[in-house]
């Protein structure tokens, strides 16, 4: 499949700040997480890809269109959810979505139909007819998402779509993002500084740091890299006993907070199970033998954060 975004040596120099520094990256179709601390160059990259600001150096193509010469074609085919507030308070979500669809060139009748469809998909019901000034943050984010999708784009840029949402609303938004990317067939580039939520929805992750590419790979690769398992046991002095037992079973285990991590990348098999015994089985049997309740056993998902943490060290 063709890449949705290809950049080559993309540089943006604001004089005082070097926002992007020779960024070369390829983004495949699907859901892509764009990760980076504040000021890493995420928003600048999106604006350059929208063809709004010219790069100081380098080239980029979005959906096959050159950003330098085909800005209008790009903007016709992409949707954009900005990080900041962007909704006029005295207009209803319904009227606003219709208007924004027309601003992307849809005829009025089609715009009405699309607006109704998209507002239903994002989950705005009767409130779509009320002025958006009275909306909760969650409803506002849904309205912002609706306007980004209303013209049926091939690619949407979502800049911090979960910002300021409570956990329930955040789960709902992440579910929507997954549906849009996987069921609607629209590619998504989503930024967030909360790494945990990106790995839940994205197929690939691009990590930016100081305007440079730190890493770009499939989400699975990030997660498989550690090969560690996270487990939690309940019982009297459960952790210490479990840690002890696992070490004796030949596994490399360590404490982390109220949980244990087990390195699953080295084959177990010191115990009687033999060389082929699965680490999962060893852990289950160990907990069973000790009479402890095994309440959690999952892949350790700290790796993306680790990549990130590495960069905050001395540079």
């Amino acid at each position: 499949m063709d890449q949705v975004v290809v950049t080559e040596g993309l540089t943006k120099d604001y004089g005082a700040v070097l926002a992007l520094d020779g960024l070369t990256v390829q983004v495949a179709p699907g859901v892509t997480g764009l990760v980076g601390a504040n000021g890493a160059g995420k928003s600048t990259l999106i604006k350059i890809l929208l063809g709004l600001i010219p790069p100081t150096a380098g080239r980029a193509r979005v959906l096959g269109h050159d950003i330098a010469t085909e800005g209008p074609q790009i903007r016709a085919a992409v949707g954009y959810l900005p990080e900041h507030d962007c909704l006029p308070p005295d207009v209803s979500a319904s009227d606003f979505a219709v208007h924004m669809a027309m601003m992307s060139g849809l005829p009025r009748v089609a715009a009405r139909e699309r607006a109704a469809d998209v507002l239903r998909h994002v989950g705005l019901a009767e409130e779509r007819y009320r002025p958006m000034g009275g909306y909760s943050t969650g409803m506002k984010q849904k309205a912002k998402l609706a306007q980004a999708l209303v013209h049926d784009p091939k690619l949407v840029f979502l800049d911090e779509p979960t910002n300021g949402l409570d956990p329930a609303a955040r789960d709902e938004m992440l579910g929507l993002i997954r549906r849009i990317g996987h069921d609607f067939g629209i590619s998504i580039i989503v930024t967030s500084h909360l790494l945990g939520e990106l790995e839940r929805v994205s197929d690939q992750v691009v990590v930016l740091d100081g305007g440079r590419l730190l890493r770009a790979s499939r989400t699975d690769d990030f997660l498989d890299a550690t090969g560690a398992l996270l487990l939690e046991v309940l019982g009297d002095d459960a952790q210490a006993r479990m840690l002890d037992a696992l070490t004796r079973a030949g596994l490399t285990a360590a404490r982390r907070g109220s949980m244990l991590t087990v390195d699953a990348s080295h084959p177990a098999g010191v115990q009687d199970g033999g060389a082929d015994a699965d680490v999962h089985d060893v852990i289950r049997d160990t907990a069973g033998a000790l009479g402890l309740g095994l309440v959690r056993l999952q892949a350790d998902h700290r790796r993306i954060e680790d990549v990130f943490a590495d960069t905050s060290g001395p540079r």
Binding site: A76, C86, P88, S104, P107
Partner: protein, 300 residues
């Protein structure tokens, strides 16, 4: 087991009856021209509070009603008293209601030029196909259209009454046409000024006050200078002072080309055309300023 309508009763199913899946759009997409036209139409409606909250409709329609009241009163008087001559000229009408016009332009320019910046909506427009300069011009045309309603409607009412009252058709048509031309010049200039002020002041209150101060106070100062110079017998100063405010330019032209009331009208053909040229130049400079401003906002 199934519910009426054949929908399987599955409480765990995420799909509900109205979930018909995502339908991609394969229909036509218009180009920039049609998008700009849609933006002008929406802007025109928004200037009168249409498509916005109920509260925002009050001011524009109250002003419009005040603005039309004298025209309707005159129309009534002509019909009842069976007058054979228009008590007030078409072009002069706008000069007498200039305060209402100034308030309307000052209050509604921020609706079109500040609102999108204050609420961040501009970013959404800029992320769509219409380029920033076209956006700026479309917004200005919307304000121009809305303001022209203020100036053209009274002319239409008075002209209709003139036709009904069997006035001299050729004469009335010529006068009405001159009035429409002058109205266009005045509207282009004051909407340009108000738009430019509103586009650089995201605070609505500031934009409104600055525009009113610029249009009405500026005109007051010019009128005072013109009054003094007229009394002192040095009308040349008043004639030149008239170049410095859109309203005094308009009054000067109305006096020269229709039946105005300027104390020191332009008294040579060259000066008359200079007055018209300055009005046009103000409009063009302001539109150029708007284009520059939005181009800068787009790349911020």
């Amino acid at each position: 087991m199934s519910q009426p309508g054949g929908i399987p009763a599955n409480p765990n199913s995420a799909s509900v009856i109205h979930d018909i899946g995502y339908r991609p759009y394969a229909g036509p997409r218009h180009g920039e021209g049609a998008i700009a036209r849609a933006l002008v139409t929406t802007g025109f409606r928004n200037a009168f509070g249409l498509g916005r909250s109920g509260r925002s409709k009050i001011l524009p329609f109250v002003l419009l009603a005040f603005n039309l009241a004298p025209a309707l009163a005159i129309a009534g008087a002509i019909m009842l008293a069976n007058l054979k001559e228009m008590p007030i000229g078409y072009a002069r009408y706008a000069a007498t209601t200039q305060v209402l016009l100034g308030i309307f332009v000052a209050a509604q320019a921020p609706v079109l030029f500040s609102r999108d910046q204050r609420h961040g909506t501009l970013a959404l427009y800029l992320a769509r196909p219409l380029p920033a300069p076209a956006y700026a011009i479309a917004r200005w045309l919307a304000l121009l259209g809305a303001t022209l309603v203020f100036l053209i409607l009274p002319i239409v009412i008075l002209y209709a009454v003139a036709l009904l009252g069997e006035f001299d058709l050729t004469d009335e048509t010529r006068k009405a046409a001159v009035a429409v031309g002058l109205a266009l010049l005045l509207t282009a200039a004051i909407t340009g000024i108000a738009g430019l002020i509103a586009s650089v002041s995201t605070r609505r209150g500031f934009g409104v006050m600055a525009t009113i101060a610029f249009l009405l106070l500026g005109d007051g100062i010019v009128a005072a200078i013109q009054g003094i110079s007229s009394q002192e017998g040095n009308e040349r100063i008043g004639e030149i002072a008239g170049l410095f405010s859109p309203y005094s330019l308009y009054r000067g032209l109305v006096t020269a080309w229709a039946d105005g009331s300027s104390m020191t009208p332009p008294n040579s053909t060259a000066m008359e055309w200079l007055y018209a040229a300055v009005l046009l130049a103000i409009a063009l400079a302001c539109v150029a300023g708007l284009v520059w401003r939005y181009r800068k906002l787009a790349t911020k």
